[in-house]
Point group: C2
Chain length 246, copies 2
DNA sequence: CGGACTATTGAGCCCTTTCAACTCGCGTGG
DNA sequence: CCACGCGAGTTGAAAGGGCTCAATAGTCCG
């Protein structure tokens, strides 16, 4: 899959380079940890809670989400995963993870055995810290989600989500000023934002009527980036990107 | 402060030993990273968002919380910190953190320069993985909070909080079957659980009337542990403790 | 003894949910 | 070719959980 400078870990690398400099040697080492690739259709469960894992999975393309269920059927999405995300890197230390990860669209993945990651931690301290940083930035995303769920209204929450997702996708080259593709149903979004599907629909309409963003046909069109940021009170510091947003 | 086997990192060590075995050499190394200690009164800001940090702080005694504010005054607590918590270990990779950390009670802390932590990462790979694990378990706590805020009712949320806090405190010797001290006001709890103070009060009453738990006089008395667990749908797997709960 | 903080309770409102009906587009089978 | 079914989206109406406003009481402390 190596075409010119294009590599498996292209997007992951782009993300890491938004955080810190990565040498060519480190980039090669990072790319070399990935062995087999796989594909999943929408709806497939990529990782199941509680399984013992001996490798971690990189999302090459498509979207996925972490979620937990309550026994009476209530389901909460914990986090959206976008291309370039190392969706279960935390299993390197945790061994088994406490939630499922499902495919929200057709998905391609690459898999890195923990053994190979361990070799990196033995040999490349700076790259190791980047992997660690990856997991701590994931935690920072979690915290912002807590903020949203606890303190933002439905419309603000959706706006913040649109902003955050735009920044995450921009780093891996999948979004620009005008917007991005987001192949999720309104039901998926509702689950992610802790809203009912009906209210999700009305909230999407509200954002459109406010002239901030339009979500339609699996695409997000940003109408007024500054207005959206302001409305959501989106402060991208928690993404810890070096590059100035916007 | 070393009295017999008692050390600064006593509680931190107890927590790590609930996750994995820690050798005596590792325990000594861990203890030795901490240099100066400090005290803060209730209400003090221990760590301020955005500051450049060159060390991480261990909570020796007392309670703290992470929080973020919105510009119009809405404040959301992100996570409770209990004794033995390395409250900003993530600053080791992040350099600056994206939220404040405040003292919810009188607090004692110890401080570890990042330089010393870096020495550990160079010399003690297994202990390094435990430190990394610490940050990934913190993320697991965040995820459970997202679950609570997104999918649990107020009463279930409080019940889950009481269960989780009981397990976290039990590991460091600060809780037993009957309950534990929790020196937080109802306003603190409300902020933590994303509720208004008034509704927090009513929710506390509901838990009491259900015969599950009594929160009064800065103490939590657990009346019916099994009932509480069941009501909250508390599944402690996400804490990743080896010891069987209860 | 006043003041500040904390806890408690009532009442009304509002955001969000639930229930329900209906549309639209699309793929499949008769 | 059309009927049908199904998933996704949309809208209305009513119910409900939690919030806000407001008032009262208890407690600690200077």
């Amino acid at each position: 899959m190596t075409v010119g400078t294009r590599q498996i870990s292209d997007k992951l690398l782009a993300k890491y380079r938004a955080w810190d400099t990565v040498s060519e040697a480190e980039a090669r080492a990072l790319d070399s940890v990935f062995t087999r690739q796989a594909s999943y259709p929408r709806g497939a469960v990529i990782i199941r809670a509680g399984e013992e894992l001996d490798g971690s999975t990189l999302l090459l393309s498509g979207f996925a989400n972490r979620y937990k269920d309550l026994s009476d059927g209530r389901r909460q999405s914990l986090e959206l995963s976008v291309p370039g995300d190392f969706i279960d890197l935390h299993s390197f230390t945790l061994k088994r993870i406490d939630h499922d990860i499902g495919a929200l669209s057709a998905v391609r993945t690459a898999w890195a055995p923990h053994e190979r990651i361990r070799e990196i931690t033995a040999e490349l301290p700076h790259l190791t810290r980047l992997l660690w940083l990856n997991t701590t930035v994931d935690a920072a995303l979690h915290r912002e989600r807590i903020m949203s769920l606890g303190a933002r209204t439905a419309a603000e929450r959706l706006a913040a989500f649109v902003c955050e997702t735009r920044e995450r996708l921009r780093v891996v080259g999948l979004a620009d000023e005008t917007g991005y593709d987001l192949p999720l149903t309104q039901a998926d979004l509702a689950e992610l934002l802790g809203l009912s599907m009906v209210h999700m629909n009305r909230t999407i309409r509200e954002l459109r009527e406010r002239g901030l963003a339009v979500l339609r046909d699996r695409m997000v069109r940003i109408e007024d980036w500054d207005g959206l940021r302001k409305f959501a009170q989106f402060h991208p510091g928690y993404l810890h990107q070096r590059t100035e947003p916007r």
